[in-house]
C-alpha cells in the first residue's frame, strides 16, 4: 500500500513534468508565411486589442484572397505572388499590456512557432521589449501603432515602424495653433497669439505619456508658447479631481492630454464637473479616439480635438478607404479607427515587404524592407506612402507618414463624429473655436 502511493506520487510528478515538454516545433506546411502578432487582447486595453486584431485580420483576408474591385496590389492575387502564392497566417498572442510578458511571447513566437516576422504591439513599452527580442534573434518586426519617438532611435536593424510618431503629431498641434493665429483654419478668423498663449498639459506617466509631456514642453518653447503647468498622473487613478484643479489653477487657454482609455473618460468627466474653461482641449489619440470615449461621453465632447491617423471622414477623400471601411464595418459593426487602420496598414506593409523580398529569409526581408516604397494610393490611411529611413537618427521610421487632427462635432444624425481640422487643405468642416465650455 505504502509503496503504491509512493509510486503514484512519483508517477503524477512525472506526468506533470511531461506537460512541460510540448512538441518542439510544428512542421511548417508549405506555402504558409507565419506572422506573429502580439496585441493586448485582454487586460485594460482589450477593447483596443480587439480593433487591432480585426484590422490585421482584414488585411490578411484581403492579402489571401482576390478582391478585384479594390485598388490595392495585395488584393489582386491570392497570397504572396513572389512566394508562389503563399498564404499569410497570423498567430495572435496576448501581452495584456505587460512588457515582460511581451518579451516572453516574442521569444516563444520566434523559437517555438518559428514565425517569419512579427507585427505589434500597441503599447510603446511592450513594443520596446518585443523589438529588443526580435533584434537579438534577427527576426524582422514591423510596428504599426506604437508612437513613442524613442523606439526608432535605438539603432535597431530589424525593426520598422509605419506610423508617424508623437513628435510629428505634437508638431501638428502647434502648427494648428499657429494656423489659428494666422487665420488659416477653416471657419475661424485670425486671433491674436495672446489668446492661446498659455498651455497646460496632463499626461499619463509611463513610457508614452511621459515622452509626450517632454515633447510638448520642448515644442512649446520652440513655437514660443508658454507651458504654464505640466503634470504626470497615474492612469490607474481612483480620482483625477486634484489633477484637474491643478490644471485649472494655471488658467490655461489650451489643455493638452495624453491619456489611455478609462483615464481619458474620467479626465473629461472631471473637467466637465469642474466647469473648466479652456479654449482648446486636445488629446493625443489613444483614449480620446476610442469608440468608448465617444459612446460614453456623448455631447460633452463636442469641440474636443484629438490627433489621429485615420477617421471616418477620410473616406470622403479616399475611395479605397471607403471600400475597406465598408468591409471592416461588415466584419465588426464599427467604422475603422486609428488603431484598426494602422494595424491594417502594418500588415499590408508586411505583405508588400514579403512580395518584394520573394523569400522568407530574414536577410532578404531586411533588404526588401529597407528599400521598399509603397505609394500612398495603396493605403487606407492618408499618408503619401511608406518608405523607411535607413540612415540618420531614426532608423526604420516611415518618413512618408502624416497625422490628422480631428474635432468632435455633432453630425447630421445627431451623433458625435470626428471632422478633420488639420491639415488645413483637407479639413472637412469649420473648426469650433473657442470651446463652448462645459
Amino acid at each position: 500500500m505504502k509503496s503504491m502511493i509512493r509510486i503514484n506520487v512519483i508517477f503524477l510528478c512525472l506526468l506533470m513534468l511531461a506537460g512541460l515538454f510540448g512538441p518542439t516545433s510544428a512542421v511548417a506546411a508549405d506555402k504558409v508565411i507565419k506572422i506573429g502578432v502580439i496585441y493586448p487582447l485582454t487586460g485594460g486595453a482589450a477593447a483596443a486589442g480587439r480593433e487591432l486584431r480585426a484590422g490585421a485580420e482584414l488585411a490578411a483576408e484581403i492579402a489571401n484572397g482576390v478582391f478585384a474591385d479594390l485598388p490595392m496590389s495585395m488584393a489582386k492575387n491570392e497570397g504572396v505572388k513572389s512566394l508562389g502564392g503563399a498564404r499569410i497566417e497570423l498567430i495572435f498572442k496576448d501581452h495584456e499590456g505587460n512588457p515582460t510578458l511581451g518579451a516572453d511571447l516574442a521569444k516563444k513566437l520566434i523559437l517555438d512557432d518559428k514565425v517569419d516576422g512579427i507585427l505589434g504591439s500597441y503599447h510603446s513599452s511592450v513594443t520596446k521589449t518585443v523589438s529588443a527580442v526580435a533584434e537579438q534573434y534577427g527576426v524582422p518586426m514591423i510596428n504599426g501603432s506604437s508612437t513613442s519617438p524613442a523606439l526608432t532611435k535605438r539603432g535597431l536593424k530589424w525593426f520598422w515602424r509605419t506610423t508617424p510618431h508623437d513628435r510629428w503629431f505634437t508638431k501638428d498641434l502647434f502648427e494648428l495653433l499657429v494656423g489659428l493665429t494666422e487665420g488659416k483654419v477653416q471657419g475661424v478668423k485670425a486671433i491674436s497669439k495672446e489668446e492661446i498663449m498659455n498651455l497646460a498639459s496632463a499626461c499619463e506617466k509611463t513610457e508614452w505619456g511621459s515622452h509626450v509631456s517632454g515633447l510638448i514642453d520642448a515644442l512649446a518653447k520652440e513655437y514660443g508658447f508658454k507651458l504654464k503647468k505640466s503634470l504626470l498622473y497615474a492612469a490607474k487613478s481612483t480620482d483625477l479631481s486634484s489633477e484637474v484643479r491643478s490644471l485649472k489653477a494655471a488658467k490655461p487657454d489650451v489643455m493638452l492630454f495624453a491619456s489611455y482609455a478609462s483615464d481619458a473618460i474620467l479626465m473629461v468627466k472631471t473637467l466637465q464637473a469642474q466647469k473648466s474653461q479652456a479654449k482648446i482641449i486636445w488629446g493625443q489619440d489613444a483614449g480620446f479616439e476610442k469608440p468608448e470615449f465617444r459612446d460614453t461621453l456623448g455631447d460633452a465632447i463636442e469641440g474636443i480635438l484629438t490627433r489621429t491617423v485615420f477617421l471616418p471622414k477620410v473616406v470622403e477623400i479616399k475611395k479605397l478607404a471607403g471600400q475597406v471601411n465598408a468591409m471592416y464595418k461588415a466584419k465588426t459593426g464599427n467604422d475603422l479607427g486609428g488603431a484598426s487602420a494602422r494595424a491594417f496598414t502594418g500588415l499590408q506593409t508586411w505583405v508588400h515587404v514579403l512580395e518584394e523580398a520573394g523569400s522568407t529569409k530574414p536577410a532578404d526581408i531586411q533588404k526588401a524592407a529597407n528599400s521598399i516604397k509603397i505609394s500612398g494610393d495603396e493605403l487606407v490611411v492618408p499618408w503619401s506612402g511608406i518608405q523607411f529611413s535607413t540612415s540618420g537618427e531614426e532608423i526604420g521610421q516611415n518618413v512618408l507618414g502624416s497625422g490628422l487632427i480631428g474635432q468632435y462635432q455633432k453630425q447630421a444624425d445627431g451623433t458625435m463624429g470626428l471632422e478633420i481640422v488639420y491639415p488645413f487643405d483637407v479639413s472637412s468642416a469649420d473648426m469650433i473655436f473657442p470651446l463652448a465650455g462645459f
Binding site: 515538454f21 510540448g22 485582454t42 513599452s125 533584434e135
Partner: protein
C-alpha cells in the same frame, strides 16, 4: 565549516523526501538536454526565480510567521541597481549584484526597525504600503528612468557575456539560476537549524514566551527580514539581466509581492520544500492555463478564474498548503 556541515545535512527528512528531492534535482540539472520548447524553458526559469523568491520569503514569512506582502520593493532595488550600473557605467552583474543586495538590506534595516513594531494586519498592510511608497518614488526618479523604466539593449553586448550576464540562449540563464537555486536551498537548510531559525520558530509559536526566554524578538525579526531581502534582491538583479526591461509598475508591483507570498504559502510556508513545491505547481499551471485558454475569443479571463478557484480551494481547505496535504497523508498512515 560547521555551518557547511549543517547546510548539507538533510538527514532529518524521511528517505522518501530525499529520494524525490534528489530526482527532482537531477531532473533540473538535466532538463536542458531534453527536447523542450522555449516556452517550457521560460517557464522553468520563472519557476526557479519564484522558488528563490519563495525561499527568501519563507525565512521571515514561513519560519517567522510574519505576513510580509511587500517583497517587490526589494526586487526593484536589486533590479534597478544592476540595470543602472550596467547601463551607466558598464559594471558587470557580479559586482552590481552584491551592491544591490547591500542597498536592499540597508533599506530593509531602515524600514524594518519601525515596521516590526507593528503586528498582525497592521504589519501586513504596512509592508504593502512601504513597497508602494518606494514604487511611487522610483516612478518620478529621473536617474532610474522614472516611470519609463530602464532597458538593457542585448545586442550591444557579445553573447554569451558571462560577466554582464547577457545571453541570447536561455540555457545559460537557466544554469546560473540553478546554481543560485542550490546555494539558496543549502542556505535555507542551514538557516532553519541555526540559532536565529530556532528563535524565529519560537517567536512564531508565542511571541511573549520567546521574549521571556530572553530572545530579542524585535532584532531577530529585523535580521531575518534582511536575509529574506537579500534573497529577493539577488533574484531582482538576475531579473534585470534576464528580462532586460524593468519598470517600477512591473517590477515593484503589488501583484508581484502577493504572488511571492502566495506561491510560498500554497506550497507550504515554514517548510523547506514548500516554496519550491508551490512555485513548481502554480507557475506552470498559470503559464499553461494562459497558453491553453488565454487568447481564446469569448472566454477572456477564464484561465485566471480557474487559477483563482485553485487558490481559494487550497487556502480554505488546507491552509498549510500542498506540503500540509503531504504531511497529513503521512500522519494518517503512521496511525
Amino acid at each position: 565549516m560547521e555551518a557547511l556541515k549543517h547546510a548539507i545535512d538533510f538527514s532529518d527528512f524521511p528517505r522518501v523526501d530525499l529520494f524525490v528531492a534528489g530526482s527532482v534535482a537531477l531532473f533540473l540539472v538535466l532538463f536542458p538536454f531534453f527536447p523542450h520548447s522555449s516556452f517550457a524553458m521560460a517557464t522553468m526559469i520563472q519557476f526557479l526565480m519564484f522558488s528563490l523568491y519563495g525561499m527568501g520569503w519563507n525565512t521571515i514569512g514561513g519560519y517567522g510567521g510574519q505576513v510580509d506582502l511587500g517583497k517587490a520593493q526589494y526586487v526593484g532595488i536589486g533590479a534597478f541597481t544592476t540595470a543602472v550600473m550596467l547601463i551607466r557605467w558598464d559594471i558587470p552583474f557580479w559586482i552590481s549584484m552584491p551592491i544591490g543586495m547591500l542597498l536592499a538590506v540597508t533599506w530593509s534595516f531602515i524600514i524594518g526597525y519601525p515596521l516590526f513594531r507593528l503586528t498582525g494586519h497592521y504589519f501586513a498592510i504596512a509592508t504593502i504600503a512601504t513597497s508602494l511608497i518606494l514604487k511611487d518614488l522610483f516612478e518620478v526618479w529621473e536617474f532610474v528612468g522614472a516611470a519609463r523604466g530602464l532597458e538593457i539593449l542585448p545586442f550591444k553586448y557579445q553573447s554569451p557575456d558571462f560577466l554582464r550576464l547577457i545571453f541570447k540562449e536561455d540555457v545559460y540563464y537557466y544554469y546560473i539560476l540553478l546554481g543560485f537555486f542550490f546555494i539558496g536551498l543549502l542556505y535555507v537548510n542551514w538557516f532553519r537549524k541555526s540559532r536565529l531559525g530556532f528563535y524565529l520558530r519560537s517567536i512564531k509559536d508565542n511571541e511573549d514566551v520567546a521574549r521571556s526566554l530572553g530572545i530579542n524578538v524585535h532584532w531577530a525579526k529585523i535580521k531575518t527580514y534582511a536575509i529574506a531581502t537579500a534573497f529577493v534582491s539577488l533574484v531582482g538583479s538576475f531579473h534585470a539581466c534576464y528580462i532586460k526591461n524593468i519598470e517600477p509598475e512591473d517590477t515593484m508591483s503589488l501583484d508581484l509581492s502577493i504572488l511571492i507570498a502566495l506561491m510560498a504559502m500554497l506550497g507550504g510556508a515554514g517548510s523547506l520544500w514548500g516554496p519550491i513545491i508551490g512555485a513548481g505547481i502554480l507557475l506552470p499551471l498559470k503559464s499553461y492555463l494562459k497558453e491553453w485558454f488565454g487568447a481564446k475569443a469569448g472566454l477572456v479571463g477564464i484561465d485566471l478564474i480557474i487559477y483563482a478557484l485553485i487558490i481559494m480551494l487550497i487556502s480554505a481547505f488546507e491552509p498549510r498548503g500542498i506540503w500540509g496535504i503531504i504531511e497529513k497523508i503521512r500522519q494518517r498512515r503512521r496511525r
